[in-house]
Amino acid sequence: MPHPRTLFEKLWDDHVVCEPAGTPALLYIDLHLVHEVTSPQAFDGLRAAGRGVRRPDLTVATADHNVPTTDRSLPISDAIAAKQIEALRRNCREFGIKFYDIHSAEQGIVHVIGPELGLTQPGMTIVCGDSHTSTHGAFGALAFGIGTSEVEHVLATQCLQQMRPRTMQIRARGSLPAGVGAKDLALGIIGQIGTDGATGHVIEYAGEAVQTLSMEGRMTLCNMSIEAGARAGMIAPDDVTFAYLKGRRFAPHNTDDHAAWDEAVAYWRTLAGDREAKFDQVVEIDAGALAPSVTWGTSPGQVVPVTGHVPDPAKAATEADRRAAEQALKYMNLAPGTRVEDISISRVFIGSCTNARIEDLQAAARIVKGYKINQTVHAMVVPGSQAVKRQAEAEGLDRIFRDAGFEWREAGCSMCLGMNPDILQPGERCASTSNRNFEGRQGRGGRTHLVSPMMAAAAAIAGHFIDIRDWDYR
């Protein structure tokens, strides 16, 4: 009998092209996603070496990181951003790669459009020059971020030299309480294991709290794997996965002469890890004990429940943690012991590849409905893709947000990293649904608190953090 294997091990074994003695495995890549910021130097490298793109048909590009989220019929005011997008346009044309340009109906954040178009499928290897590629692992794909040199490598060879990572299982026991979602689960895990807790590992998420998540919730969870240092995060594909994929544009379809969908599903069902499979490390988390989370510092692991207080650095476990906490509090301008619900915010950002899918906007809109945002707050909603935007508009969510005083924008990364004009001013404090609260991430001197979409929406209305479990829905 073959030895029992984890989901990761099955995918790994399936994609090893060869393993010449003394070198790492050469891993085949099924889908390569490309965006404007990490690719120009890779295409230049190809040209300099006189190399081509081996599989343009397995490569898909879009512009998301620095695109404006305001009226797209106007020229891009940032000349350098415009130049970078133009470079991608030219590179895609020259090498025959499909490019979802900024005016296309499919444009959006690369990790939102991949799943939405059905490009992301179970059992695949997926890479992109972006660390949040881990998002696609929600489908039972092995998906990870790479640097620009590796982007060039994949363009030229459709392969990557890879050292085999270690495996980690994270078992979420119990079920998530009402008002506590995938984002809180992700932050809870990072709070528990630390921002380097999974370094060198591929995480497989399991347990009831994970299995009962929707596909979009699973994407949020896998998205944040990188914030725990993981190479990738993944979840075994099941009926939820197949139901999400069925009928999507690039998913397999049954035809008269080939039952491609049936064949694919039959294969996908074999991917779940074997029961006896062993992991290098197993972590348990009590999902039932989680609460809506708010980060207080400048690292996603610096997180407490909304009912909690800003911790006292003096009580940190190690000297390094104490210094990190002190520096974070100085940057965040917060005093130890402050009640989280007493922290006022002036900006709200609902967006990013973590939390800008339709369910995120639906959840936020349920909170917002019938309310106006606090006068002191400037809030915006940036849908993850044009498709999300269209669906939200068809459901009337844009009206709910606009009536409350939110700005309703075009799709892109926007204030998740502030490469376009959407940034925080120095000293501004923001409730953000994105994934990184690093110093200056959303703008120099800006202070970011990571929260779920519902928590961000409620903060916009209250003007400070508030426990959505007590929310008075209208």
């Binding site: 050292m163 380097d196 998913a251 397999p252």
Partner: protein, 207 residues
Amino acid sequence: MKAFRTHTGLVAPLDQSNIDTDQIIPKQFLKRIERTGFGEFLFYDWRRGADDKPDRDFVLNQPRYKRASVLVTGRNFGCGSSREHAPWALADYGFCAIIAASFADIFANNCIKNGIVPVVLPEAEVQELIKRAKELPGYSVTVDLESRTVKDDGGFSASFPFDDFHRYCLLEGLDDIALSLQQEAAITAYESRRPQWRMTHQASFQK
């Protein structure tokens, strides 16, 4: 990739853990489409105070560390974004090796691709190096990839792990794409084994 055998250079101590790539090179410099010229933007926000003037306390602004080429720093260095602009900026500034108790995966990989050696040493030894770099003017170390050791003139000596393959690539300055292309036959054979229903974007797109 750029070759690396051994390097002796001035050590700059940056005693902080979890330094992310957003700090190493802030996003406003990611719009450049070249690989070069990022050095002047290294740790841009930290090098300037709130008033936009150079912050004289920041380690790289101190005259004594001006020509540093070895960085010693806290654990989980390079976490966050996969931007290769971070090692480009470090290399362009003049850093050849970085010593820390641990590195984020993608960052360490990106360093190797750019001829920077990420040296992992136990926390206590990292702290010892930081101490010496702070106390001894002109303190420098030798990072020797061939013997996988870090040494100074004052008796410090430590060996570090480095996998054979990447060590070989760095020592020889190998082009890893060329190396993979030597497996052309195996890649083609693999492609012929892939199931038909596997997505090919363009074929479906043109339908």
